[in-house]
């Protein structure tokens, strides 16, 4: 029983560390995209995955979604929903990268800035690892969640 408990506790702490990491990655990734939305729009267009009318809208909204979800993950508010959204984004990013790698298009992934070297299979692997981390967070994350810590106290008060 103790062993089981220890494993569970280990998972929850690992999930907490992963949560901070993924949250930080997405906050960092969003900053340059928010600042240089024109370049990010070109990156999205170069993937050739979304229709022309939606490219600029995505370039404006997507970085803010990353920032909001990353922030929620860090502070532990609605982290389950936030990590689910980030997992969805990573799944789409991975799919897009895979398709473009298969096409042989030598574009940068646009993950952090527009001045990146062309993406490779390593880029895809990295995104898949992040995707796995989000799923891990989704399953094991229990610690330092602001709602669980404060909401019941307020309700009973």
């Amino acid at each position: 029983l103790n062993r089981k408990w220890t494993i569970k506790a280990s998972h929850s702490y690992a999930a907490l560390a992963a949560r901070f990491y993924i949250g930080g990655v997405f906050i960092y990734a969003s900053l340059s995209k928010i600042t240089y939305s024109a370049e990010f729009a070109e990156n999205i267009a170069s993937y050739q995955m979304v229709p022309e009318w939606s490219v600029n809208l995505l370039a404006i909204i997507l970085p803010w979604s990353e920032l909001v979800c990353g922030g929620l993950l860090i502070i532990g508010l609605r982290s389950k929903s936030a990590v689910a959204l980030l997992a969805g984004m990573l799944a789409l990013f991975s799919l897009s990268i895979a398709i473009n790698l298969a096409r042989g298009t030598p574009i940068g992934c646009g993950c952090f800035s527009s001045l990146e070297t062309p993406m490779t299979w390593t880029t895809l692997l990295r995104d898949l690892i992040w995707l796995a981390m989000t799923l891990y967070i989704y399953k094991f994350d229990k610690r330092f969640q602001i709602e669980k810590r404060f909401l019941p106290a307020i309700t009973t008060a």
């Binding site: 050739q48 809208l57 929903s81």
Partner: protein
């Protein structure tokens, strides 16, 4: 005998006049004054007094006529004692309704207080409550009263008694009426107060009902909020569509606002949506112009795509690098020389963007190729590398 008849007629006439005068009066004082005036004259009395009073409380009205001021003053306070002495002479210590004259020379009254210049006092009861005294003074010629004169005076007291009874009854009726009116006013006031109180009670009841309704609403709101809060607590560890909606809304609103106010902001939709399309040139026509070196061919795609495969001789001028690339590669080109632009994808019409910018730089003959590099290659035209 004739003289006797004439005298009696005179007395009857006097009584009749007295009755007529007194019947018109309602104030006891006025009645007493008139009585003294009219009853003293026929028998030639020099002075007299009359009192009507409540036999229980000895409150009453005294009127004097012809009596010296000092005597009258003493009489004002002394008449109850006079009455008491006189009443003591009656059987049972109380006078009767029939008037009775008590003479000053009656041995039973000697030694008691007796008003000066009064030769006799008539005492009688008007009713169970009120009694009266009539003090008969001396005559003008100081002679004793004759029997028929005494009878006249006693008859006068009967008339007086009737007038006083009527006046006192009227006074009592007036008092009762006033009392009734006062009680009626009090009743009306009490009724008004009761109406006001009832109205206030109704208003208070309405206010209370409103307050209870408000309390109910507040209670419902409280339970609603509590339920919402508990639901939020319960959903804290779950994925919720509501969360997705909120995150999406925040991202859309903040993103659009930030983009609007940012110096690096971009159009929400591609700019070509708002401008007319550039003229299109068919592949063979373009090939003919290029072969004759009569036209410049421009690849508008990003450099990575240009480097992959391009139409032979094409210059790379992507929209993102347009100003620099134009300065380097097209600055010396004649504005009238035909320019053919190509390069578009599912996500971006680079050719349209570059064509528009060339027109803005005064190039008159700019057209967009009706196909991509792959189509060009399929037609068997030259591509590189």
């Amino acid at each position: 005998m004739a003289t006797q008849i004439s005298k009696h007629t005179f007395y009857l006439k006097a009584l009749n006049e007295l009755s007529g005068e007194l019947s018109a009066l309602v104030q006891p004082r006025k009645i007493l004054e008139t009585f003294l005036l009219m009853s003293m004259g026929p028998v030639g009395l020099r002075c007299g007094f009359a009192v009507v009073f409540d036999s229980g409380t000895f409150k009453g009205t005294l009127v004097c006529r012809g009596i010296e001021t000092g005597v009258a003053r003493r009489l004002e306070s002394g008449w109850p004692a006079v009455y008491t002495h006189c009443a003591a002479l009656f059987e049972g210590g109380s006078p009767d309704t029939a008037a009775r004259l008590i003479q000053a020379n009656d041995p039973r009254v000697e030694g008691n207080a007796w008003p000066e210049d009064i030769t006799g006092i008539v005492v009688w009861k008007i009713d169970d409550q009120f009694a009266a005294l009539f003090g008969i003074g001396t005559t003008l010629d100081r002679r004793p009263l004759e029997t028929d004169e005494v009878e006249l005076l006693l008859n006068s007291t009967v008339v007086l008694s009737g007038a006083l009874a009527r006046a006192l009854n009227t006074q009592q009726i007036q008092t009762l009426n006033a009392d009734l009116y006062r009680k009626k006013s009090e009743l009306i006031r009490a009724r008004d107060e009761a109406d006001n109180a009832r109205s206030n009670l109704q208003q208070t009841t309405e206010a209370l009902k409103t307050a209870y309704r408000n309390i109910d609403l507040l209670e419902q709101a409280k339970y609603g909020l509590k339920a919402l809060w508990e639901r939020q607590v319960e959903q804290a560890g779950r994925v919720s569509r509501f969360d997705f909606l909120i995150i999406g809304l925040v991202s859309v609103v903040v993103g659009i606002l930030f983009n609007h106010f940012s110096p690096n902001g971009i159009d929400l939709l591609p700019e070509r949506f708002f401008h007319p399309a550039a003229p299109v040139i068919a592949l063979p026509a373009a090939q003919a112009l290029i072969t004759k070196r009569e036209a410049v061919i421009i690849d508008a795609r990003p450099e990575v795509f240009f480097n992959q495969k391009r139409i032979s001789g094409a210059l790379n001028i992507p929209p993102a690098m347009f100003d620099i690339a134009y300065m380097i590669k097209l600055n010396d080109v004649d504005p009238d020389k035909p320019i053919v632009v190509y390069g578009r994808s599912f996500s971006r019409h680079y050719d349209e963007i570059v064509a528009r910018r060339l027109v803005q730089r005064d190039h008159q003959n700019v057209s967009v190729l009706a196909g991509e590099v792959s189509d060009w290659e399929s037609e068997g035209y030259a591509v590189e590398p």
